[in-house]
């Protein structure tokens, strides 16, 4: 793949800061976060946590998607269909059968939102049975493929909170190898009682608005979202007269091999993932103008990531921010929504702020960007790290 990388020709997103690109962009520029108390999940923790929740009920989402009565779409699937449809619509024209088209989706929670509702009730109520087969992670991908009319290579990645970055990476590989001409890549995750309680037992949920990279950060806010990118081959770009929004120039995945959930002190996995991404992009660290950090606001992540960033960039730290204070940590979807934010940053030549930051971490020599500001951006880096030591970095370049 000579030149800039794999062309990104479409994007679609839904998160707690907006159900369209325009709304999302407006929120990012005005510093308006989407964090609130939870309404759509029945949990005892509702008064203890803040979440980036999309304020549509499942019934409202089904109406937006015009799903028929009696459908068995989980919230994860509906959010995914909504964002993937928006990504395809943003292309203007898209004949799914004209090119080899695939879907690489990702999710961590899958259909758990319905499983936790009906787990025992399934045994008594046959009317609920259509939801049994929606539990697995592949279900939402099948639903999205059907919704978009894709017949082809459809698969799903689940590597916890780096999932969507890995889906984007696999999509790029398939294009580079000529196995696909077009691929829709991204991730979707709905909030669920299961994940809320899981993160709560790990004691990494903040009872306040999260403060990425702040000395006094208390933990993360969970969120829900879905976002998808359309990647197309050079040939499709040429034939369809596309104007790429940006290019995926580099990518890398590495394993921290340190602990099932915690990151190593020196951010070894993160460091290796970034190095690999530079190699694939053929760029040096000094070419990076902005970093959309993983920055979950847990004590462990931000220290480990901060150290890895300092190892890579030493005294020449680019502008960086975590946008998780806007959306919450949307798990498998996080890397996809942050990819969209990076693309918008490149298009608008603007860096988005890291909200709620007050005090620099004493272990670090750098602070995140706290205001939206214009900046000359050629290449931006996006980090995403997940349980199991899974570390992924993506590099996006200006079209």
């Amino acid at each position: 793949m000579a030149g800039a990388g794999v062309a990104i020709t479409g994007i679609g997103i839904i998160s707690s800061i907006g159900k369209t690109m325009e709304e999302s962009q407006q929120a990012l520029l005005s510093g308006t976060h989407g964090i609130s108390r939870i309404e759509h999940v029945d949990t005892k923790l509702r008064d203890n946590i803040w979440v980036g929740e999309i304020k549509y009920s499942n019934a409202e989402l089904a109406d937006l998607l015009k799903l028929p009565a009696g459908h068995n779409y989980t919230r994860t699937a509906m959010l995914g269909c909504y964002a993937a449809q928006a990504a395809v619509a943003s292309l203007g024209s898209c004949d799914m059968d004209a090119y080899k088209t695939g879907l690489i989706s990702s999710t961590s929670v899958g259909g758990m939102d319905y499983t936790e509702r009906y787990f025992y009730k399934y045994l008594e109520d046959p009317a609920l049975h259509p939801y049994i087969s929606t539990h697995d992670a592949g279900d939402s991908s099948h639903k999205i493929a059907d919704y978009l009319g894709i017949q082809g290579l459809v698969t799903t990645i689940s590597t916890a909170c780096s999932s969507a970055a890995n889906a984007i990476m696999m999509g790029a590989r398939l294009i580079k190898h000529g196995r696909l001409d077009r691929v829709i890549v991204g991730g979707t995750d709905a909030l669920s009682k299961f994940t809320i309680n899981g993160f709560n037992t790990l004691m990494i949920l903040s009872d306040e608005l999260c403060q990425p990279f702040d000395q006094d950060r208390k933990g993360l806010n969970l969120g829900e979202a879905a976002a998808y990118l359309v990647l197309e081959s050079e040939e499709v770009v040429r034939k369809e007269n596309r104007k790429p929004l940006a290019y995926l120039a580099g990518y890398g995945n590495a394993n921290d091999a340190f602990h099932q959930t915690a990151s190593s002190d020196n951010g070894e996995g993160a460091f290796l993932a970034m190095e690999k991404a530079f190699t694939v992009a053929g760029l040096s660290a000094s070419a990076i103008d902005y970093i959309n950090a993983h920055g979950t606001a847990t004590p462990n992540n931000d220290l480990s990531e901060g150290r890895a960033l300092q190892r890579i960039f030493s005294d020449d730290m680019p502008l960086f921010s975590s946008t998780k204070a806007f959306t919450g940590h949307t798990l498998a979807a996080a890397a996809a929504i942050e990819a969209v934010f990076c693309i918008v940053a490149l298009q608008q030549q603007i860096v988005f702020p890291n909200l709620n930051f007050k005090t620099q971490m004493e272990e670090l020599d750098c602070s995140p960007q706290t205001e939206a500001r214009p900046a000359q951006l050629e290449h931006v880096l996006s980090n995403s790290f997940g349980f199991g030591g899974n570390c992924s970095s993506l590099i996006f370049s200006k079209a």
Binding site: H135, A160, K193, N197, T201, L202, N255, A257, Q260
Partner: protein, 353 residues
């Protein structure tokens, strides 16, 4: 120029025990709706304290992975890529029960930590100290094939020289009951083998199967993996074109295939796809394996292990033979075909080396 890719090591934990020389001689067709896996002792690989906290899926995965690495004489692979349909079902179910039964109180994190789909790949990496690429695919019956596809691209490119690729699926109690309610698993009072089956649903069993794939041909190499393709939907009438396109892409015709490995699961509603595939090929040996290892989302990984073994041995044991055609030529090209309930179709092509 594309490099050749070889299977240099195999490991498995199945309902017939672990991967071994006499595997097929000692195997017997499964007859129960849900079959237990015959587990090895994990003592030499996993400390008892750790083993107590680990679900079967993690332990089976670690064991099969180590077998595959040992056979290939690889200590640390360049990448670890796994596939799983349902992921760490046991820990997911355990944590969910705790959340529901205790009304979100008195919870401990261990089951949650181990419930993520990439736990097995992560635990293998942690054990080996493998800091390379680490991916997990979770798309029903193409979960494993997606992992192989990823590995093939990286090996073709020379991005990696040896990759550990594997599949694991465990079955937790409640999930098995639910899958029986919707007919994926046969009812408990039905006792049919895959060949005898006249009813819908399949006999299920857990399994883990791992491979060391490498660019280098060694004395241990079982066979070459040439190519594979996946597709979410293929109707029975589209199947001939689906197969034909794949073979053509690889410069082959139907008659070049010396044996078929089919995912017959004994599900009377969906085995028609395999019958259709058999009809495409004239007088070609057809083989099956789910009668031995059961159905799960990633049992097709065992189909690949079996194909690799037979190609390497240039012999087919009777227990694996589905049709009555006898092999009358060298076993060179073998085509594997799998699908689940008419979706997630995969074709894999292997060749003797």
């Amino acid at each position: 120029m594309k490099r050749s890719i070889y299977i240099n090591g195999i490991g498995a934990v199945t309902a017939q025990g672990v991967w071994r020389a006499d595997f097929f001689v000692e195997s017997h067709p499964l007859q129960h709706a849900v079959n237990a896996v015959q587990q090895p002792s994990y003592k030499e690989l996993i400390s008892p304290a750790m083993a107590r906290r680990m679900s079967r899926g993690i332990k089976m995965g670690i064991y099969a992975a180590q077998q595959a690495l040992d056979e290939a004489h690889i200590t640390i692979p360049d990448a670890i890529i796994t596939g799983t349909g349902l992921g760490c079902s046991e820990d997911s179910e355990k944590f969910l029960r705790n959340v529901l039964d205790n009304e979100e109180q008195f919870l401990t994190p261990t089951a949650f930590i181990q419930s993520t789909h990439n736990t097995v790949a992560a635990q293998i990496a942690l054990r080996l100290g493998c800091k390379g690429y680490n991916f997990t695919y979770v798309n029903r019956s193409v979960s494993f094939e997606s992992a192989v596809l990823d590995a093939l691209m990286q090996l073709h490119d020379g991005e990696a020289s040896s990759i550990l690729v594997g599949a694991v699926d465990e079955i937790s109690d409640h999930t098995a009951r639910l899958l029986q309610l919707i007919g994926y698993i046969k009812p408990s009072d039905v006792h049919e083998t895959v060949k005898e089956s006249k009813s819908p649903g399949a006999n299920y069993a857990e399994s883990a199967t791992f491979f060391t794939l490498s660019q280098e041909k060694t004395a241990q190499s079982y066979c070459e993996i040439l190519d594979l393709c996946l597709q979410n939907k293929v109707s029975q009438s589209e199947l001939p074109t689906f197969v034909d396109k794949f073979l053509k892409k690889n410069g082959l015709q139907l008659q070049d295939i010396d044996a078929l490995v089919l995912g017959y699961s004994g599900d009377s509603d969906f085995d028609g796809w395999y019958e259709q595939a058999e009809q495409l090929f004239d007088a070609t040996v057809s083989l099956y394996y789910k009668h031995l290892v059961g159905q799960c989302d990633t049992s097709s990984a065992f189909g690949l292990a079996m194909a690799a073994q037979f190609v390497s041995d240039q012999a087919i044991p009777e227990t694996a033979q589905y049709n009555t055609t006898t092999l009358d030529r060298p076993l060179k090209n073998v085509l594997l075909y799998n699908q689940f309930r008419g979706e997630d179709h995969s074709l894999v092509l292997v060749r003797s080396c």
